[in-house]
Amino acid sequence: GPQTAEKLDFNQITYVDELLEIDDEYLVVQRDGEKQMETIKSHFPMLLTVTSNANEPRYPDSRKMLQYFRADLADNFEDEMQEKAEENGWIIPVLDAAELGLEEERCGLTGSPTRVHNIKNIKLAGGDLEIYSDKDEGIKDLVKDIMKDYVEVE
């Protein structure tokens, strides 16, 4: 989110919980400032990032799902299908770096300033597990051990 805002040269509001008011020129949102809730008014253009509280997505419209069931990239349609695909709005448009005015050397994996140096699978520490029985005696021993170590006796 923020990196996109920076590239667009837009103001941003992150962690938006709720849209409270919207007008032609501005909007008012509630931002989760972690330690405080903030009501912010800001003018367009701006980029918002939202929290999971911001919206309950509706289910997809089943008629539209059927209508666009065949949607695909232009290259994946046979020549004789192109016209029909276009009429039905099945062609998913593709933009390339040149159309978006991007520097190619800053795109994709090789364009990223960061590199993955190595990856490791997580090994579990493997503790000195002591199993207590789930019968009364075992539970009693566990409670005794907890009391001994952690609960201050007055």
Partner: protein, 331 residues
């Protein structure tokens, strides 16, 4: 080498946010062996009242811009001012707390300076990298936490990272550097103040799992919100507090503020009692540094037993009431 730490203030008590102190100490531990420097940057309104704590943990200089209009986050101003400070000071490394505001600012600045940023690092170290000299090794869980990736920014500077609060423990020893607070004379373009704060209400923090010595946590295996009350009873009997796995929160057994794990709070209490928690890696990331872990789970193969010190294989709805019974008896 030089590391800059973005310093934040906790608006609820006007003190330095804990993560800012933790990162200062971490930066010092990386810079000290290299004869490097640790500086801080604070951009807001009014220095945190206990700013001197930063120098105790190894900060050399705290650069600050304080202005009434920056009492609440003005991302565009902070981006500009911080980018200017970075261009002026030329740090090799810039660290941010992975707080809401840190996560707001860090990517803006990284993008503005066209450099790399690694979010939510769990370990950081400086080491030689190929022929590039000393670089920052940024270690973090990836792909849902099942692997640990080491990420490098090989060419660009500064190398930037965010770290969540509680991930880097404070050292027991302090260094007591002299207090050195440097006020920034520059000002900023008024037009960058783009957010108007109509109201700000401090959140009531009801739960602070970080400050509790004993955490009793429940997962999906608890089975219902009703059963979850047992955990509250156990926590109360032990003088602790209640945590929850993400699954338990998603099922509505517990409030989100109780969530422990990669997307919740990171805790390291003296005792962590995991009840009905299978022990997915995302949960373990938030509690495996606990001094002692007790697991109560029906499934003997649950991964939680791999990191637990003590365990009972059984139904927590029978085990916990029995525990409560014996706790009463012990008293």
């Amino acid at each position: 080498m030089k590391t800059l730490v973005y310093i934040e203030k906790d608006p609820t008590n006007n003190k330095v946010r804990e993560v800012s102190v933790e990162l200062t100490a971490k930066a010092y531990s990386m810079m000290e062996p290299l004869d490097g420097e640790v500086i801080g940057a604070f951009i807001g309104y009014g220095l945190p009242e206990n700013s001197d704590v930063l120098f105790k943990y190894g900060m050399d200089e705290l650069i600050n811009l304080t202005d009434e209009r920056l009492e609440n986050l003005q991302s565009m101003v902070v981006k500009e001012v911080l980018s200017e400070i970075i261009k002026e000071e030329e740090p090799d490394i810039v660290l941010f707390g992975a707080t809401h505001n840190g996560r707001d600012i860090a990517p803006l600045v990284a993008s503005n300076l066209k450099t790399g940023l690694t979010a939510d690092c769990t370990q950081l170290k400086v080491d030689d990298y190929k022929d590039k000299g000393k670089r920052l090794f940024q270690i973090r869980p990836a792909f849902g936490g099942n692997i640990i990736a080491t990420i490098i920014t090989p060419e660009d500077t500064p190398m930037m990272a965010t770290v969540r609060e509680g991930v880097m423990p404070l050292p027991s020893e302090t260094v007591d550097n002299p207090v050195n607070v440097e006020k920034l004379n520059e000002t900023f373009d008024e037009e960058l103040i783009m957010n108007e704060f109509l109201s700000v209400v401090q959140k009531e923090q009801k739960v602070n799992l970080k400050k509790t010595d004993i955490v009793v946590s429940g997962g999906a295996g608890v089975g219902s919100a009703e059963n979850f009350k047992l955990l509250h009873d156990l926590a109360e009997a032990l003088g602790g507090d209640v945590g929850a796995s993400r699954a338990a929160v998603d099922f509505g057994y517990a409030d989100k503020e109780r969530q422990v794990g990669q997307t919740g709070t990171v805790v390291r209490p003296k005792l962590y009692i995991a009840c009905g928690i299978s022990g997915q890696v995302q949960h373990r990331a938030g509690m495996e540094e606990s001094q002692k872990i007790i697991a109560i789970n029906k499934g003997p193969d649950a991964p939680i037993f791999d990191i637990a010190h003590k365990g009972i294989v059984g139904d927590l709805n029978e085990v916990i009431p029995t525990m409560l019974h014996y706790l009463k008896e012990e008293e």
